[in-house]
Symmetry: D2
Subunit: 255 residues, 4 copies
């Protein structure tokens, strides 16, 4: 059974800041957001977690292996180096969707995302080391079959992107509703999903659903691990098997 | 009439690189991609262009005001500082969609995105300074009405994001097909669209379409300018008027 | 005759900020400083200027080719993305030392570096395009003869560094006093100097002085140009000639 | 007794790379170097170590608390994101100078800094957790007395810098020879020194020596800790006491 630790990272009062005293240059906002994300991704990533940029003002991370103190240090370090600050909510659950709901609630209880007085709150709890297991995290790594040949080298760059986005929009909604999973576009034609304990049937169903709904053909490799990196690395290897063998679903632990 | 200069930025042979000799750590790829994007956004942005992260391996920029030499310098500078290199295609047109098609073709003619021998190609042409006008670029800045109150502070962080993504997926497809426009999610609940010469009717139609299709309520400010920053800055101010007055479409030049 | 445009970049009220409300983590300060420097180096550098990190809280740049508007944009962009802000003083002169003195005075007149009310001042003037010439900037690029063989691979890493620092401390002082030039350590065993119109005799004298004073053997390539990049690039090529031919001073325009 | 763990970080074959196939733009090299340093500083720093930029192509870090696996991960992550790679040598000793000598030797044994075939070597050993003590690291934080009033606001920016550099060059040499300590300029008028077990007498002697030799007046706060951050944070607080009370040497553990 999975036990995913999920952290919601929210920039404090970001919307109002971007237009105060008047709208800031868009290129600067884009630079700020993507560098802040990159820094969080490194901090979490070199402790074996995964961070997703999501909306940039709200980022979601799988943080199994990170302690409460790690979260506090991340918050302090960002506060020292950026003109904005972070609030963090962390929770665990048997499904990623439930864990994120709990993490969100912790932050919402502390105040609105646009409350000037809610600043650098850090709420929730992490999994004790003694309770961690090698199956805590399940990661599925999807991509679009032959995206370069079918899309990138054939369509114009935006029409390729439309196809991929339609596939993502459909998959994210379906995995959330049908499987309590959280799906994130990570660039190229790649979507990484943090899942509860799912098997062949669920992944095949999801792939079939997306193909039927928006005519985008996906394949997926799935891995398990003590933390996101372990699970995700196994998923990447499984996806390489899909690419090599032409299979659609590969579960790494089934080899 | 608009005359948008569009640049397609493509990382050379990126997909294969990410899995050679074996899959690289996801957090490092995410960091690399978002920092590369940030750097391009700064370079283009401090010459008054806009860059969108799009798929990260393929980025799209509105580059009115940037010369061919500027493009060459960007390519050289990235080549000096990253483990990957860029190919650039640039083209202009009366619609952004047409300009991007031409820019894409230039790069595709030089070779596949996954061709090991296609490296640092730089193709196309820019607008001569003498032909630039104050109406060359039209930028529309959309956001979701009361997203913080309706979504961020109410739903869990992923369900908010699903709503915004459904709105984006629908708007991007519609603006492309109906209006030859290119739409980009830029974080939070914001979507920036580079458009040909559109007016009230088209924006009202687009907003109504998205609301009907996926029940997401958008508002939009629109600006014109000699380059993306001018047009986009006017659009931001127009959007502030929507927020203050409760209107749904504001054209900055109509005040 | 040279006409160097020099910009002094000063972080506003930085010292007090680093210890308020209590001392900030050193690693965060180091990260902040070096990334801020990197950003300024890119902005100035892709307009063909050179920026030197100097003390980090005070940086010095050779900015021939950058307009006053460019300076204002740099200031705005940093203000949008960092928790600290910049004051800039810019001046020109027939010697770099005189130009820097004038630039410094402009900022000092506006207030102390630790005055809480002096924020984002931008003072001085740049060279009009019509007055720029291909000999405005002279750059000398020094390095230590066979530093890798004599020091890096032989001494421990700190003792190598001591040798290089002693050479730098002596050269910087001498070039300032004897030749109104500004010398900057730029990493490795490299020192870049912005100079007035000097020739063989002065460079040979400087090299002999350093060798006698601290027993560090230097070689130098020198270039001229309309801006720092042109001059510096020529200097690098001249230094390659030193390395290839075993000469101690190469003036690029003398070939 | 101190037991400092020192890591030498060396960019592989960097000198030749900077001029192959021809000299690279200086601004790009500066950007690359300072961002690489910033990343290492964050990685080491959020594990409570200190990294010093030193020569940039050779950086020195105090890494008590970092495991061998941490070093391997840093090396992998940099290799994934930069066009250059790192070799790392790590060693421990009762004096920092001895530890660095050993760390240097490990790397030198593996090949020259400019050997094309020496790539990503990782040599040495770290302190076992069971052997770590709260006195392993001693950090001294020096600054120049009233540097802003006496120099920054009075002299031109370069002459201020000359004063600080002369102080640094003298202190670094003296602390190395007399006290087996490694001194690093960290920006502004600050010098951080990693020391063996020194007391009042040694610091007073060092300050007197520098004042006599180059007429630069220093003060110093000193701290001890299990790792660099603990020790350095205590040193910063002690230095605040110097500033407040006008004392020249404050040992944090003596209060």
């Amino acid at each position: 059974m999975t036990n995913t630790q999920v952290t919601l990272v929210q920039i404090d009062n970001y919307g109002p800041w971007t237009v105060t005293p008047e709208p800031r240059r868009e290129a600067d906002l884009q630079t700020l957001q993507s560098r802040l994300y990159a820094d969080i991704s490194q901090f979490v990533g070199n402790r074996n977690g995964y961070t997703f940029f999501t909306r940039f003002d709200n980022m979601i991370a799988v943080t199994n292996g990170l302690s409460f103190e790690d979260h506090a240090l991340l918050q302090e370090s960002v506060g020292n180096r950026y003109p904005v600050s972070l609030s963090l909510g962390v929770a665990t659950g048997t499904t990623p969707a439930q864990a994120l709901s709990d993490a969100t609630e912790r932050i919402q209880d502390a105040g609105s995302a646009q409350d000037k007085d809610r600043r650098e709150c850090l709420e929730g709890r992490t999994i004790d080391d003694g309770h961690r297991t090698p199956d805590d995290v399940q990661i599925a790594h999807f991509d679009v079959i032959n995206a370069t040949g079918n899309y990138t080298d054939e369509l114009n760059a935006f029409d390729s992107f439309i196809e991929i986005e339609q596939g993502y929009a459909e998959l994210m909604r379906h995995m959330r509703r049908a499987h309590d999973s959280l799906s994130f576009f990570v660039g190229g034609d790649n979507i990484i999903v943090t899942c509860p304990d799912l098997g062949y049937a669920e992944y095949e169903e999801a792939i079939a659903h997306v193909e039927e709904a928006v005519d985008v053909r996906l394949q997926v490799g799935v891995g398990r691990g003590e933390h996101a990196h372990d699970a995700g690395f196994a998923a990447k290897h499984a996806l390489e098997t899909c690419r090599a063998d032409g299979t659609r679903v590969e579960l790494e632990w089934d080899h």
